[in-house]
């Protein structure tokens, strides 16, 4: 070692020996509360441009595709599709966009490092998960309830020109339309829980697409005795039953189906909660 010069300067401003200046007493009102954490998550949700775009896409898909399907009905003979499911065609696609948003709202925190800020503000962690799920569910319901009714009325208005329409007063129709919004919201929560477990957008979206779209179609490759027994309980198929107004073979009843999807979602959320408590951020 060749000896070199200079000793880096020791601070000359000596703070020691001077009594510390008394500071103002703390405001006891400043503390964590659950409603405040919800408000924080609401700010986080609306302040991202991607949220607004994603919600817009969901709206366009839900209403627009239903309308397009109604327009396309002209050439088909009556009875192939019921008019209700025609106007709710968009729901089958919107389930993808609500899922992507659900995943991104949570995986975006991990990919950007925001999660470290979030969890150092709320070190108990769990209230953040509940708030994210709650705020996201509320926002989706507020957007989707009008959207599914709009899709229904737009679709029926187009179909009425062809005398194929169905009235909202038809038994089961109000339940199916409201159920479409519930189905989409639950799908979004399902995806959000996947995002919380996998913490990675690509992985969680792939898993979501696999569960919602790929596995149901792969089941068709199995012997029908097996696939018919399993298929009704898959999340997408079970949840979709809420939109049926005529009973289909190998399908759960509407509310039982929605309950099965809720159970899947609740199970994933429980896993996410346990993991959030245990794992490092």
């Amino acid at each position: 070692m060749s000896a070199t010069e200079i000793t880096a300067g020791v601070p000359t401003e000596i703070t020691a020996g001077v009594p510390a200046a008394p500071r103002a007493s703390r405001d006891p009102a400043v503390r964590l509360t659950f409603p405040r954490i919800m408000r924080s998550e609401w700010i986080k949700l609306y302040s991202l441009r991607s949220t607004r775009w994603s919600l817009l896409v969901t709206l366009v898909l839900t209403i627009g595709l239903g309308g397009l399907a109604a327009l396309a009905r002209e050439s088909h003979p009556r009875g192939v599709l019921d008019p209700l499911s025609t106007s709710l065609t968009g729901v089958q696609f919107a389930i993808l966009s609500v899922g992507v948003l659900g995943v991104l709202l949570i995986s975006g925190e991990y990919s950007t490092g925001m999660i470290r800020s979030t969890m150092s503000a709320v070190p108990k962690r769990l209230p953040v998960l509940w708030s994210k799920l709650g705020v996201y569910a509320a926002v989706e319901l507020v957007i989707l309830l009008p959207a599914v009714f709009a899709a229904f009325f737009v679709g029926q208005a187009i179909l009425s020109g062809k005398h194929l329409n169905i009235a909202l007063s038809t038994p089961g129709v109000p339940r199916a339309v409201v159920g479409a919004a519930l189905f989409l919201t639950l799908g979004g929560l399902f995806a959000m829980a996947l995002g919380a477990i996998l913490r990675n957008a690509a992985g969680a979206i792939s898993a979501y697409v696999a569960i919602m779209f790929v596995i149901p179609s792969l089941l068709g490759l199995l012997p029908s005795s097996i696939s018919n027994a399993i298929a009704p309980y898959l999340p997408a198929k079970a949840g979709g039953a809420i939109m049926d107004i005529t009973h289909k073979a190998n399908t759960l009843s509407p509310w039982a189906g929605l309950a099965v999807l809720s159970a899947w979602t609740a199970a994933l959320i429980a896993i996410a909660a346990v993991q959030l408590r245990r794992r490092d951020v």
Binding site: S2, T4, I6, P19, S25, R26, K44, L126
Partner: protein
């Protein structure tokens, strides 16, 4: 000591943070019974069992403390006068260990970060500094040991942002959100008013870009935003990981002044760096780590005293005569070339006088000290994980200093 006297006892305040509002408010003197019962527990006792159940669902079960939460901290006699009638907070790290798979990132670290001084957390890359800070904040769970603030784990505070303000390594901000909304979202969790958000934005000089997406920020601006977030709750403890990374000289100067001012207010300031030169300008106390272990925990002054070897470099055409004239049992002389001697154990004055006695010509007589940076490198060399094979590089700083001398 009776309860009234405790109001002005900083250690009592430190260890009984949960009753501090009563203690500091002055409206009523905390009675002994009141001081023993944390506020949170009082409120949960009033709650119905349904309310308690919902509360535990929302907030999760309480973390089981890993060490006795009784406060083990005591003030040094020199500190007692400084913190009279003053809240204080202390970071206590005890036998903290964190293992990631095979890798032992933090290995049985024990140290205390005291109030009123800037404590530097110094170590080469990969020494475990950032991990330790994450453990203190409860972001990572320790494998064993514990890190507490005022004797309690960070998770247990009802207003964590008022307790510790932290800037963590890398960015901890969503790139798609504006600086203002980022800070607002953090502030909202605690009910910190919007005025405070605007105040910290001004403090760090981000007013002009507060509404822009944080993703477009330069490294220095991102760092300022992180510092703003750390200041949001006006915290007792400020903990910054490599705060000067990417800051311009003006920013570095500003953060140094800010940290010293906060320490002078009796706060606990803890900042990490891998640069000794940086630390020597800001910190008064050093915790030096390498490979997850604490290597030194001492005041900067003591570190300087320990490591400054006093060497005098003499350049003389009569080096060999001079050498025999000054050789003594406690003097060590090394010759790096025929005319250059490095003398250890004598002051430059003594060497000069010895040269005069034998009539030797001196071309140069330079007192040298080991630089802190060098001492730090030497200390951490065996410990440093990413140590490159030693490459001899010309010491530019040394050359410059010689010219100046």
């Amino acid at each position: 000591m009776h309860a009234g006297g405790r109001r002005f006892d900083p250690v009592w305040l430190h260890c009984n943070r949960h009753v501090e509002s009563a203690a500091l408010g002055g409206a009523r003197t905390p009675s002994l019974t009141a001081s023993r019962v944390p506020r949170a527990r009082v409120s949960s006792e009033r709650m119905s069992s349904v309310g308690r159940f919902i509360r535990s669902l929302i907030w999760g079960p309480a973390d089981r403390p890993r060490i006795n939460p009784r406060c083990s901290f005591s003030l040094l006699s020199s500190e007692k006068a400084l913190f009279s009638n003053q809240r204080i907070s202390v970071i206590e790290v005890s036998h903290l260990t964190k293992r990631y798979g095979e890798k032992l990132a933090v290995n049985d670290m024990t140290f205390t970060v005291r109030p009123g001084v800037v404590t530097g957390f110094l170590g080469p890359n990969g020494a475990g500094k950032s991990t330790t800070m994450r453990l203190i904040l409860g972001l990572d769970r320790p494998t064993s040991g514990a890190a507490t603030i005022s004797g309690r784990p960070y998770q247990e505070f009802s207003a964590p942002l008022q307790e510790v303000g932290a800037l963590l390594e890398a960015r901890s901000v969503h790139t798609g959100r504006s600086a203002y909304n980022h800070l607002l979202a953090m502030a909202q969790t605690h009910g910190i008013p919007r005025a405070r958000v605007r105040e910290v934005i001004s403090m760090v000089g981000l007013d002009a870009v507060a509404q822009q997406r944080a993703g477009g920020f330069s490294l220095g601006m991102g760092q300022r935003l992180g510092i703003a977030a750390a200041l949001l709750g006006d915290p007792e403890v400020i903990m910054l990981d490599e705060p000067t990374n990417g800051l311009d000289p003006e920013g570095i100067h500003w953060i140094r002044d800010l940290l010293r001012r906060m320490a002078a207010e009796g706060r606990t300031v803890f900042l990490s760096s891998h640069l000794m030169s940086e630390m020597s300008l800001t910190a008064e106390h050093l915790v030096i780590v390498g490979r997850g272990r604490v290597l030194r925990d001492m005041p900067l002054e003591d570190f300087v005293a320990e490591w400054s070897r006093n060497v005098v470099r003499v350049i003389s055409p009569q080096a060999s005569e001079l050498r025999s004239a000054i050789l003594a049992p406690d003097v060590r002389v090394t010759a790096s070339s025929p005319s250059v001697l490095d003398v250890e154990g004598l002051s430059s004055q003594q060497v000069g006088e010895a040269a005069a006695r034998i009539g030797a010509v001196l071309h140069e007589l330079i007192p040298q000290k080991t630089s802190l940076e060098e001492a730090f490198m030497q200390l951490t060399q065996e410990e440093s994980e990413y140590r490159a094979d030693r490459v001899e590089t010309p010491d530019a700083e040394f050359e410059l200093e010689r010219v100046a001398a």
